[in-house]
């Protein structure tokens, strides 16, 4: 469903990602691991088409189509969604408004139901992300993605700053967005950035990738990868690449 080919990305004239390759099939969920500053957010932003993250080389393919030159909204309308790590507050725009925009006119009535699911009913009349707590921000991102219903969803550290009870809520939302409960005809795909791995206790990931200094250095079963990283730290991954 999504394929990243030989991607090199720069931010403010500094190259952050080097020749990254990644392929995610329909029905799959991948985890992206890596230390702070390794380029995880950069990769997601580049896939979403954020102009600040300039693609120097390589391609992004979605459902077989080259989307490297498409604008953010064109990608969103094709079915790509992103739950931001640190979304901006938008003064004057109500959470209800943005969720309704995501839902589209036909489904606009579902706002309340979705908001209740994420314990955000009280936040609907507040400006998006304005003065939201860390956990509220993450749940508001989930709410927007649920409403948007993308076929390929990316989650940038969905669990950071979220307490244990709410991680379960966030995990459930991710499962719903990715239709994890389905046994057959799984059509959606996901990419979850995490460096604690906690979210993987709630959401099952099929494959993991480790990103270090802008390069994918290791791939495998996400649980195994995490077990290794917990035991030996990310340094092992670098060595692993070398060996």
């Amino acid at each position: 469903m999504l394929e990243v080919k030989d991607l090199t990305v720069e931010v403010d004239r500094k190259t952050i990602l080097h020749n990254v390759n990644l392929a995610i099939d329909a029905g799959e969920t991948h985890a992206l691991l890596g230390p702070n500053g390794s380029g995880k957010t950069t990769l997601l932003m580049a896939i979403m088409g954020m102009p600040r993250y300039r693609i120097k080389k390589g391609q992004v393919l979605f459902q077989g189509k080259d989307i490297t030159k498409l604008s953010i909204d064109e990608r969103a309308r094709l079915g790509i969604g992103l739950a931001f790590q640190r979304p901006p507050a938008v003064r004057g725009v109500k959470t209800r408004q943005i969720v309704e925009l995501c839902l589209g006119e036909k489904n606009a009535k579902k706002v309340e139901e979705l908001a209740r699911k994420l314990n955000l009913a009280a936040m609907l009349e507040r400006d998006v992300n304005q003065g939201f707590s860390g956990g509220e921000i993450k749940r508001s991102e989930m709410l927007q993605l649920l409403a948007q219903n993308p076929s390929f969803a990316m989650f940038d550290e969905p669990e950071s700053g979220v307490d244990l009870d709410n991680i379960a809520v966030v995990g459930e939302a991710i499962n719903e967005i990715l239709q994890k409960e389905r046994i057959r005809e799984k059509k959606k795909a996901g990419l979850i950035v995490t460096h604690t791995g906690h979210i993987l206790d709630y959401v099952n990931a099929d494959r993991g990738h480790v990103l270090m200094e802008g390069t994918i250095v290791c791939e495998g079963n996400p649980r195994d990868l995490f077990a290794d990283i917990r035991a030996h730290g990310y340094e092992e991954c670098v060595k692993c690449r070398r060996c």
Binding site: P88, G92, V93, C102
Partner: protein, 420 residues
Amino acid sequence: MSKVLNKTLAKNKIEWRRKAEAVKSKPATFGPDIDLSKFATPTEKEKVESLESLSKQAKEAALYVGIDADESFRAGSYFQIDHSVIYERVQQAYQGQLEIMSTSEALERYDWVADLWWQAVHVDQDKYTALAELKHTHGYFIRVFKGQKIERPIQACLFLAENNISQNVHNLIVIEDDAEAQIITGCTLHPRVEEGLHVGISEFFLGKNASLMFTMIHNWAENFDVRPRTGAVLEDNATFVSNYILLRPVKSIQMFPAAFLKGKDSRARFNTILYGMKDSYIDVGSKAVLSNKETKAEAIARAVACDQSQIYARGQLIGQVNESRAHLDCRGILFSSEAQIRAIPELFAEKAPLSELSHEAAISPIAEEEVEYLMARGLSKEEAVSTITRGFLDIDIPGLPPILKGYIQRVLDAATKEAL
């Protein structure tokens, strides 16, 4: 009785006229000077039985400034075309709770009206106040009786139907002790009017515990000049909220409405929305004078400048006593490389070390990051920018007819699209 009364009035009038004559050619402190000699005298207009009987064009123009010819959601209405008062009515359900008439009539009817006349605005401020005195052409008198809480808005329309005249109204609004009301004033033109001048004096008097939400919406034309002069005097625990909205081009508008917080615990809030288009010259401020304990004022302004427009957003907070607090918040966005915005906040603590005055002013483009965030949710760039701009200008004002809200959105959408 009326003889004595007329005598006082006549005596006062001599004094007002003398002061007005003295400043007949005194330009205003701000804004371009206007040649007052070029305006003609309009013809008298007939009274109408109901607002529904107005022409379609007049009704539509009025609607866009918040004036609903279908009065079922209004407590009462006043309608003036050029120099003629064509309609004034208090709805059946509100009879005895408030009164509406022209100020010329009120001056004749009540001797105390002359005592309030020119008390919140100085007659000798400049040539425009002088013009309003020397060539006074009515204006509305709205009085809400003691203790009455009027839940539906009262509407007043000042309408220009003839080209090249000056409308010099003087309004007086009295909200008596413990009374509450909302007033929507719409000032606008017949589509055929291109040039002219509107001078509007508005004096507000709010009694103890009185509360007023005043909303003024202006729709003018590219060659039209506007010079309102506004003052509000607040007694103990009174609340004055003043909303001002300008969404259409104008040649020039200059005003600096003031709230005088004389009563303990009184509060004032100004919300100003300025949308500069074409060659508009817009100089609008808000001023609060805090002269008693526990007074609070807030002045919020949002300015968007397009095309070659120039906007001056002024604010002046004057703390004269301790334990007074005021804040000014002014933000602007330029949508054109030929437009200008100047935010001029001024704080003046006058021998009151415990007075707290603050301001924040910012002129900046719409944050790219916010636009991109909304685009990631599927909005096009234009939709994202107009959603954010609308949010930027959104100041929740109750009582506006839905059609006006829709209109405000359409104007903003069209203008932001053009700007991109």
